[in-house]
Amino acid sequence: MSLLTTLQQARAAQTQYAQPLSRLRYLHVADQPMLILPLNRPGETARPLAVMAGSDPSSPQLFLAPPGDDDRFLAVLAEHLHAYIHSFQHATRIRPAKGEQPERREYLDAPQLVVTGTASVYYLKTLGRALRYRPIPEGTDPATSVSHLGRWLTFFTERAEYASSSLLLNLTSLLSTHWATGQSALEDAHLAPLMAWIFPPHGRTGHQAALTVENPLQHPPDGPTIDPSFETAQLTSLFADLKSARGSRREHHVTRLREALESYLTPTWNLAWEALSTLRGMPPIPSTTTRWDTDIRRFTAHSDHLDAGGPPQPKQDDAVTAAVRLAELEHAAASLEAARALEDTFVMAERRTTGEAFSGTVTHTEPDRKIKPQGPRQRAKRRPLLTVRTTDPVRLEPNRLLAGPHDPAVHMAVCDITYTSDATEIVLEVRTRVSSPHSVPAVGTTLLLTTAPDHFRRPQFPGRDQIPWTHTGPVLGAPKEEQA
C-alpha cells in the first residue's frame, strides 16, 4: 500500500466517510454480467445449498439443493449458466493476421461473472475442481453437462487471478481500489460494511452504518459460508423438518427453506447490483478495452477447446506450467499498474510517493543527437537526449524505460542520474518515436514520467521436453501428501 492510500484511509477514519482513491475504472463492466451468490452447506466441502444467480437485477433466480436432492440442482444450475455463456458464442468477427499471429475468428463479446468477494472466487474454484472430472452421462449434451460447468468455473476463476482480467469480477476487491475506508482490509472484504462506508444512509456516518450491518441476524453477510447465527436460528430446524418429512409435507418445508434462503441472500443481491452500477458509472481508462479484448480472446480459445472435446484442466500444474503461470501473473499485474499510471492521475500520483514516478522540468534537450552505427551495414541512429530536473524522491535504475501520459508511445531510457543537494537530474534518451517532433518536449516543459508498460518483458522458459524429469513432477501443496 502507498502512503497516499494510507493517508486517505486515515482521513476516512477521521471524517468517518470513505475517501476516493481513484475515480477511473480499469476493468470492463459488462452490460449484462451474471451475478452469482453461492451459499455452501455448513460442514461440507464445495457443496452448495443454494445459489442465487442472474443477469437481471429485478429477477434473481434461486437454485436450491434441499438435503437429498443435489444432482438435479447441479443440472439446473449448469443449464442456466450455460445458457448465459452460450449466448455469447454466436456473433463472431475475423481478426486479421498480425505479427506471428495468423488470422483468426473471435467472438464479439464474452460473458462476465460477478461475485462479492475473494472467498466466493475461491469457492467457485473449488466447486469447479469438484465438478470438472465428473463423467458426462451417456446420451447427454456435453455442452450443458455438469462437467462442463466445472470446466467453465475453473476457466473463470483461473482468469480471475490475473489482475488485468474482467471475466470474473470481485466486487469488494474492486471497490477497495476506488475507495479508502476507515476500517481494516479484513472488514473491507465484506460487501455490506464496505458499501456502508461508501454510501452510508442519510443521517449516518460511514463508520456508524458499517457497525449497524455487522449484526448477522439483521443483515445477513454475503457467502459462501452461511453465518452460524442464521444456521442456529433457522437452518437447523428447517433441516430437521426436511429430514423427517415426505411428500407434500416435504414440499412445504422445501418452500420454507427456499424463503429463508431468499431472504438471506436478497439484501446482498441488491447491494451487489448497486455496487456494480456504481462501478459501471465510473469512466473507464482507455486501455480497459484492450484488456477486455484479451479476455474475449481467452474466452474464444477456451470455447474452441471445449468444442474440440479437449480434456479438463489438469489437477495440478507441472513445474514448468506453474512457473510460466506465476511469471504471467506477475507480468499482468506489473503491466496493468504501469498502464494505469499513464491513464489515471491517482495511480500516477501514488507512484510518485513510492518513487516509481516523478514530475520534473525539462532543463536541456538535444533533439538531433545521433549515435554512431553499430555495424558496418547500419546507419547512424537518431537518439534525442533530454535532461529533467525533479525534486521528487526518485527510485530508478539506469536503463529503465520510462513513459509519460503526454504521449505513452514515447519511451525514454534512463542514461544517467545525478543527485544534488536539493534536486535530482535525470538524463534520458528517447528510444521510440524518435523522429516525431513531440518526442522531445521543449525546455521548461513539466514532464510526468513512470515505468513504461512494455518494460516488463516476459521471461523465457525452457520447453517441456528440455526439463529433466526430476523437475516435472507434480507441485506439492501443503500439507504434503504421502503415498497412501
Binding site: L7, S184, E187, E481, E482
Partner: protein, 382 residues
Amino acid sequence: MSSFRSRLDTLRGPIEPKPHNARSLAAFTANPGCRRRALLDAAGVDKDALAVHLGYPLPPTQSPRALSRGAQFEAQVKDQGGAELLSLLRNVLHLPLAEAAHSDLSVLGTSDKSLSVRHARTRSLILEAARGKGPSRTMLDHPVLVLMVSGRPVFLEPDLVAFQSEGVFHVVEIKSFAVIDGQAPGDKVAGAVLQGAAYIIALQELLASAGLDIDRVSTTLLLITPRDFTRRPMASTVDASQQIKSLRRQLNRLDGVEELLDQLPTGITFDLAYDGDDPRTRTATRDRDDLTKALNTTQARYRSNCRHHCQLALFCRSQAHDGQLVDVLGSAAREDLGSIDTIPAALGLADGSLSPAPDQEDLAAALRYAESIRNELFGGAA
C-alpha cells in the same frame, strides 16, 4: 508462587478459572504482544462472559453443523478399534504389518471430573510403552495430556491418539476439512498444526518428567482428513517444529505475566460479581464503567485479526476507535505508519501542523510529500 496464584485469583474473582484447551493455547501465538490478553489468559478469566457483560459479544463463528460433521468424521475414522486409522498410519509411517494395541480411555469417563483419572492412566500407559513394557504399537484413544500454564495444570484432550511405533510417539489430529488434490486451505492447516503443537509439547513434557528423551516424540504431525470431495479419510504429514517453538516461547512468556501483575495498581479485579453460583442462571452485577476502568489498567494491542482468536475483539476495536488508533486501519496502514500511533498524529504530521519527534523525521517528510500530492489531486477538500 502462591502469592502469584493468589494475585491471579484476585484478578479473576471468586469463580473457577476458565479451562484452557488446545485451541485457546494455540491462540497464544497470535498477537503475542497483547498484555491485556496475556493477563486475562494467565488468570483464566472468562473472556466470553466479559465481552457479553461489556456489551460487545462476538457473534458465533463456529457452525453447529460443521462441528457435528467433524465429530461424525472422527467417529468414522476411529470405528472398530481404529482399524482404518491403523492402516492409514501404517502407510504413512511405512510400517510392516503387525498387531497394534488400541486402548480407549473414554471408558474411564468423559466428564471434567474424570480428566485427572484419565490423565493418570494416559501417563502410565505411555510410560509403560516408552519403557518397552507394553506393546510397541500403541494407539491411545481419548488420552488426556497436561501442560502447565502459569503454574496451573491445563488438561488437553487430543481428539485422538498418541501412536507409538519403533519407540517414537506420534500425535494424530483428525480434522474434517478436505484436502483436495493434496491442497487444503492454509488457515485451516495452520490452526490444526498449532493445536497439534500443543499436544506434542504436552507429550514431550510427559516423557521429560519421567527422565525420558523428548526426541522420542515426533515433531511431525499426522493429519487425518477427508480426501477430496469424499468422506474417505487420508493421512498427511506436516512438520510442526516451527509451531512447537513459537508455542513454547509463548508459554514461557505467560510465566512472565508476574511482571505485568507488578505493574497493575493493587486490588485490580475483573470479577463480574455474579449474583449466584449456577452458571446457567447467574447474572453479572459488576458496574460496566468500573470494569472498563479496570481493563484499561492493562495495555491492549488491538489488531484487525483479533476476532479470530480473542473474544474481546469488538470491545478492543471500539476502544481503539475511540482512541483514534492507527490499529483500526489494519496491518498495511499500521506498517506504513511505523511509530505513529494515532490517526490525528499521522494527519498532523502530514499537513505540517505537528512537528515530528527525532525518530519520525523521515516518515514525516514522506507523509508531507504524499499529502502535497494528495492536495494536487483532490484539492484540500476531498
